[in-house]
Each structure stands twice: as C-alpha cells, then as structure tokens.
C-alpha cells in the first residue's frame, strides 16, 4: 500500500494487504457501504487505488461534509451502475469528490486483511455499523 489517502486505517507506506478479487468477479453486485475496495483509477488507467464505498446506486450522498471541495449541503444522486467512493483521510484524498461517481465496472476487489506489519494484523469486515438517529 502506498499513499496517505486512507490514513488512519492504512498507513502511508510499508504495509502489505491481502486483496480478495475472486468473490467480486463471481458476484459483482454484492458491494456493501463502508467496504474497503480496490479499483482502477478513473483518472489514470494504469493505477490501482484503494477507497471506501460510501454510496451505492440510488443513494443520495452528501458530496463533501467537510466543505473542502464542495459546499457541505450539496448532495448528489448516485446513478445506476455507479458507486460513490471516498478516502478515509479527507484532506489528502482524491476520490469521488473530484471525479464524481465511479462505474462499478472499475472495481477489482476488496481489501480482506492487513498482513504486515504483524503486530497490526487486522481483518477488514464487510459489515458496516449504521448509526441511527
């Protein structure tokens, strides 16, 4: 892994993660909100990026709650076949706030676990906990 866009979940450099590709190839429509996924960058087809799924097709997503790249009240409807992705480190992440909803055809797989360094071994689960009002 390289890059600061997923801090503090994933470090800037020096980490190894396990990427699980086959389940997504077999069942491409089973993406959950809050899952860590790998996808081919819509801006540069030779790069693979890792982001978190925020919105599924049909969801209305707040574009930027931090107000950095868009006004914090701006919302967008995610079109069919697309998802809204965001990096955990909002200040240092180029994600759907810059390039809009990305097509699900670009998704490669999900990050299953971090395997190095060994003292920070974590398995990333697919289920997100929703906070109800």
């Amino acid at each position: 892994m390289a890059g600061p866009s997923m801090l503090p979940t994933l470090d800037n450099s020096g980490e190894l993660v396990l990427e699980s590709i086959l389940p997504h190839r077999l069942f491409p429509n089973q993406l959950g909100r809050g899952e860590l996924i790998t996808l081919t960058s819509p801006v540069d087809p030779s790069r693979i990026i890792c982001k978190r799924v925020i919105g599924l097709p049909g969801d209305v997503v707040c574009v930027d709650p931090t107000g950095l790249k868009a006004h914090s009240t701006e919302h967008v409807l995610v079109p069919k076949g697309h998802i809204w992705v965001a990096g955990d480190n909002a200040a240092w992440s180029k994600d759907s706030r810059d390039y809009g909803p990305v097509s699900m055809a670009l998704v490669r797989g999900r990050i299953a676990a971090r395997i190095y360094p060994l003292n920070r071994f974590t398995v990333f689960s697919k289920n997100a906990t929703y906070i109800e009002h």
């Binding site: 491409p28 081919t40 960058s41 819509p42 801006v43 540069d44 087809p45 030779s46 079109p79 069919k80 076949g81 697309h82 390039y99 990305v102 097509s103 699900m104 055809a105 670009l106």
Partner: protein
Amino acid sequence: MSLFSKFLKLSGRPLTSRRIHSATDPEGSSRRTWALIGRPLRWIYWLPLGLGFTQYFYTLKTVRGRSMQPTLNPDTSSWDDIVIFDRYSINSGEPIRKGDIVALQDPINSRKMLVKRVVAVAGDIVKTLPPYPDAEVFIPEGHVWVEGDEPFRTLDSNKFGPVPLALLDSKLMYIVWPLDRIGPLRPPISPVSKRGASRDFRWYSDMAAFEREQRRQSRVTTRSTTTSHS
C-alpha cells in the same frame, strides 16, 4: 508408431500371444490406451497459448446491434459483422485517437460490451446530443467520449457521459466478414474521383461517411483550438 499400424499389430496376433504380451508389458497397454484417447486431446496443450493470445493480442468477435450503422452491420447485410479486435494497442498504452472504433465495458451494466467510436478525448469540449442533461461537456483527464455512428438508436456517452479509459477493452482494426466490406477500418477521408470517371456507388458511400465524420467532429472543440482563441 501410427494408430493404424498399432491396430494391425493388435488384430494380427492370435489370442494367447496377445494376453501374454499384455501380462509382461503393463506399461505398453497403458501407452496404447493413451495413444487411442490422447490424440484428440492434444489441443489442450495449445490452450494456454491460445487463451493468452486472444486476451492480450488479437481476438475475433461478432458485432451485434444497429448502433454503429452504416459502418458496421448495415441494413444491406444479412449477417452480423465478424471483426478482429486489437487488444495489444490498448494494453501497450498507445494513446487512443479520435475516430477509433473501440470495444468498451458498459459503465452501467459491467457485463455488457459496447462497440462505439471515440469522438473526443480528454481536454476536448463536446456539444452533446439530447438525452444528456448538459449542452456542453468538458472531457476530464483520463476519459473519452464515445458515440455510436447511428445517433438515433445507440447507448453511448450521450446517455452515460464520459467513459474512463480503464473501461476500454480493445480497438476494432479489421472486418473479416462479410466479404464485400472486408478490410481494415480506415478513418473516413474525402474520396478523390479520377478525372473523367463517373462517380459510382462507392464514391457516394465514401463521401457520405466523410460528411458524417465532419458533422460529428463539428460538435467537438479540441484543446489546441481553444487555447489559440484565448
């Protein structure tokens, strides 16, 4: 040893000697069985090479649908076109040029493959056609604008917007069938009629293709022309 001579050897011996032969030579009998069933299975040896070739170099596919008429599948043809797709140029990172016909994954339904023409690349401004909400679109970096040659019945960028380059799968380079349109796909250029020769059907269809290309490109402003005006 050929299959035929082996069969002759087997059938020529009397029963007792054949049984003795197989009792003392167990590997010989398995070799014979393998020779009988192995020959038709030899193609499996070439399978990885064949799969690798079609995935990374060139592949032959049929084009279905009417969205690229009259370039592909025109109404005058009773069969779907069979074409050669070039995956090597996309994989080797060759830049996609305007006017190329490409096969891409449908951004909305990733299982479908679409065949469309690249009308504008990153940095261009396109005047869009009806289903698209905005009248003009700036193509962002890493994206292309694809349109079908038949504007009425096509699922293209006028419905789903600019397409990221990662979704492009291959370039169309050669039509193999039907035979009257066999040949490489060339960008439409203004046909030159020989002096004194009457303009025939081929001249008219080349001219029509050229005019369609001009009309498509009239809706696109490339990056270089916009900077020259500023």
